[in-house]
């Protein structure tokens, strides 16, 4: 994959979670139906759980946009989306599973040149031999 395709993949995937996170923060009641039943036993209300989830997605998306801990944040978001895909099922589940695969591909590859990861990467020591 060339630089442009990797940057487009990373940014578009991060922006997807920016949208998800923002919507969950602003309209938590509309997302309650996506919560799996076992979360009902958490000692916090459903709306608050949705807002916390949205905030987590926003923070991880920010890391991804900046390219900081790119592979880790992509992996966490992909695992999160895969979990949602399994839990929700149906057509939405298939779509989320495919989106999660895009995140897996980001996590598997080396971060692109526009990431902070690459900016702060130390150059290899010159060989003295």
């Amino acid at each position: 994959m060339n630089l442009a395709s990797r940057v487009v993949l990373r940014w578009s995937w991060a922006l997807l979670f920016v949208w998800f996170g923002t919507q969950q923060l602003l309209h938590p009641s509309q997302w309650v139906t996506f919560l799996p039943m076992w979360t009902g036993y958490f000692p916090i209300p459903a709306e608050m759980l949705i807002q916390l989830n949205g905030w987590m997605e926003l923070c991880l998306a920010a890391l991804l946009l900046l390219g900081c801990f790119t592979r880790l944040s992509a992996l966490l978001l992909a695992a999160h989306l895969a979990g949602i895909a399994v839990s929700v099922g149906g057509a939405i589940g298939v779509r989320d599973a495919a989106l999660a695969m895009a995140g897996i591909s980001l996590a598997l590859g080396e971060p692109d040149a526009w990431t902070l990861d690459m900016k702060t990467k130390k150059a290899p020591e010159p060989s003295t031999v």
Binding site: G40, E47, M48, L63, C68, A113, D117
Partner: protein, 167 residues
């Protein structure tokens, strides 16, 4: 190859190149928005702190919501047509108030002398939606006791959904 955005950022890029060799690269978008000494660890810690503060705020700000009807619920109206003076666990409602919320989009029930807004719980009930929908607008004490007896888990869920007491 310098991408097109590089030309937009050319001047700050050149200045930063003079300041630090790290910026002699082809990725100028970072250079405009991030200070020179920005490092991965600093960004990671900052995002972590912002996440923790934001999560704490959500929990703090959402606390009173715990005992309030959800956004899906209609404004409670008493039997006399007047809304309760205030919402909270110590608000009191009549059976007529509860019967006014007998739909899936606004589902209240009285259980053990307390009033609960079960609207957000309908889709999440492990035993299925139908059981909860059947309780909407009614006194569900008998149904609840028969099913759950004195189990702790359902009690903890109910505590989150309580909106008041039965008059």
């Amino acid at each position: 190859m310098i991408p097109p955005v590089g030309y937009v950022c050319k001047i700050p890029h050149k200045i930063l190149e003079l300041l630090h060799p790290r910026f002699r690269t082809n990725s100028p978008y970072l250079l405009v928005f991030l200070p020179m000494q920005l490092t991965k660890r600093f960004v990671g810690i900052t995002v972590g702190v912002v996440f923790a503060l934001g999560a704490a705020y959500i929990v703090y700000a959402g606390r009173p919501v715990m005992n309030r009807p959800t956004a899906l619920s209609a404004t409670p109206v008493s039997a006399a047509g007047m809304p309760p003076t205030r919402l909270g666990t110590d608000s009191s409602y009549t059976m007529a108030d509860i019967q006014a919320h007998s739909t899936q989009s606004s589902c209240w029930s009285a259980i053990g002398g307390d009033v609960y807004d079960l609207t957000s719980w309908i889709s999440r009930h492990p035993g299925g939606e139908g059981t909860i929908i059947g309780l909407c607008g009614t006194d569900g004490t008998a149904a609840y006791t028969n099913q759950h007896k004195s189990s702790r888990r359902p009690k903890s869920v109910l505590a989150l959904l309580k909106i008041g007491i039965l008059k």
